[in-house]
Amino acid sequence: MSDAASPKPSSPPQARAGKSDGRIAQRFRKLAESGELGLVAYITAGDPSLDATEQIVLAAAEAGADVIELGVPFSDPVADGPTIQRASERALRSGTTLAGVIELVRRLRAQTDVPLVLFSYFNPILQMGIEKFAAAAAAAGADGVLATDLTPEEADEYRSVVHARGLDTIFLAAPTSTDERLALISECSSGFLYLISRTGVTGERDALPEDLPALARRVRRFTKLPLAVGFGISQPAHVSVLGGIADAAVVGSALVAEIEKAATADDAAAAVANRIRILKRAAREGISRRSAESK
């Protein structure tokens, strides 16, 4: 009766694979050398069309985004707030599929060296088939994969298949994660570790949570991987303080909101690039991790 590959239950964590010399690792090394906070830009692919996304991503990379997360739209994005929900709906209405997003990666890779991460809910990956997905994503030139609703416990097969193709597996850590879970998440992650700044869904907020520095310090006890902090990061003021505690800031809803407001793809690309330049400037001029640590 079953015609989709069932996800295999997991056994103890395997040794970390992924690419220590991949584009993601290289970019974070460079950032570390200059003591500069990185900027990870999330963009929902296919919103409002894959052609527009191509243009927007190139503009974002040109403006200084260090890593691009391409969001694969899903009908039921439980981890996302209203802004990315609406973007997902627009992307699905324009006919975007996971296969289409991978094809976009291929087109982008011919034009830019910016690290590209596919950011998806698990079901579209599972329906394509994990093996077929990993092979296609790697061949297209993707560097990493993040599956929002896949935690290490359910990810053994996924990890070994994705690593075998030389892609990094990025997992999420959350404020509610116990020390045991942080150890497991660190063990299973490669490329960087994505720390969710607060309990909640994606979306812009005014202030960073007060307990974020302590949370980031706790996570660092378990990993040497670069730490990217996301959820609710949108303003230069956020970015300028994050330099003291993280290696990168993830900005998503704020960029997606610019795309939503823009009348044309040209306008969207210009608005996203402008936002990234402002945030990047704040990152360069703000507290760097090196200066924070030397105090």
Binding site: M1, S2, A79, Q85, I196
Partner: protein, 402 residues
Amino acid sequence: MSYVAHVVRERGRYGPYGGRYVPETLMAPLEELERVYAEARADRNFQAQLDDLLKNFAGRPTPLQFASRLTEHLGGARIYLKREDLLHTGAHKINNCLGQGLLAVRMGKKRVIAETGAGQHGVATATVAARLGLSCTVYMGTEDMERQRLNVFRMRLLGAEVIGVDAGSRTLKDAINEAMRDWVTNVRTSHYLLGSVLGAHPYPMIVRDFQKIIGEEAREQILRIEKRLPDHLFACVGGGSNSIGLFHAFLSDASVKMVGVEAGGRGKSLGEHAARLSAAEGFTGARPGVLQGTYTYVLQTADGQIATTHSVSAGLDYPAVGPEHAWLADQGRAVYTAVTDQEAIDAARALARTEGIIPALESAHAVAELVRRAPEMKKDEIVILNVSGRGDKDMETLARYV
């Protein structure tokens, strides 16, 4: 055929189905819930408190009624009705709400969140929250708020906040998405009181355990009345909580056949029905996949987007099914079938006129399948059908069809 899922295997797997597919933020609370539930089960006081509420507040045990006129009308098997419709709030949902409500109190959570389709789970949650002194927020698709208006009013009267969800198909699936977003945001202070055998482990196990009292009572009652086990069990399957509740106590009784009845809606193509396990009858679009925390049969497109569904019954109008049902179906331990909107409406009328019971439209689906099959059964065969809820909430819909 042996069925060995009485003990949930590691991380809540039923064969390949089940599991725990959620954003990381929810992992620690799910682990906490699993731990607290295990402690509660071992705690005699907890069970005594639950038993007292089930008896004196909800009205258990419910009768197992011999449906003499329906039996005569259909001319086949002897039909017994398990009368969950007689429970306080009008459906089996209260069984689970009382259990989880006590768990919320045990965890020190002052607020419960729920999703609701037909409104029965929302009403039961609002009721239990009022009884236990918890605050309560219920998410409900705006399409469902329209067709189950009376239940919206009931929830508000009970002090619950009802929030309309205007996304997707504006039904149960979308209400669950929004409830999960609330939970992920307020996870430290709120318990998500999920209403069916859906979602990430341990929910399918916990809800099943709180609902299995239906079958345990029915088994004891039929043995007392007929001095033997039934031949057939019938129940409707939305998420699958009333059906798993009836089936579970009989899983080791190899002679007892089980029929789960899904919503066949108004057609067999994707989008027109909510039949996840009835592919053999030509209902298209169901494949194993991950939705809202669990791996199970899901109605979806080729590239993994979740499909919209249709059913006249809000409580069955959902694209996935509880993972334990997926496993029971694969094993052939239970069989699943679907009836149309119109058949369910006709069956509701038939039960009303033969037995004086107006069933919920959900339960009417099970009645409709029984109406099909009972005439071909022998007169000494015994059927138990779960009347999971009463139809008061469906008067406006029924009035349009009848």
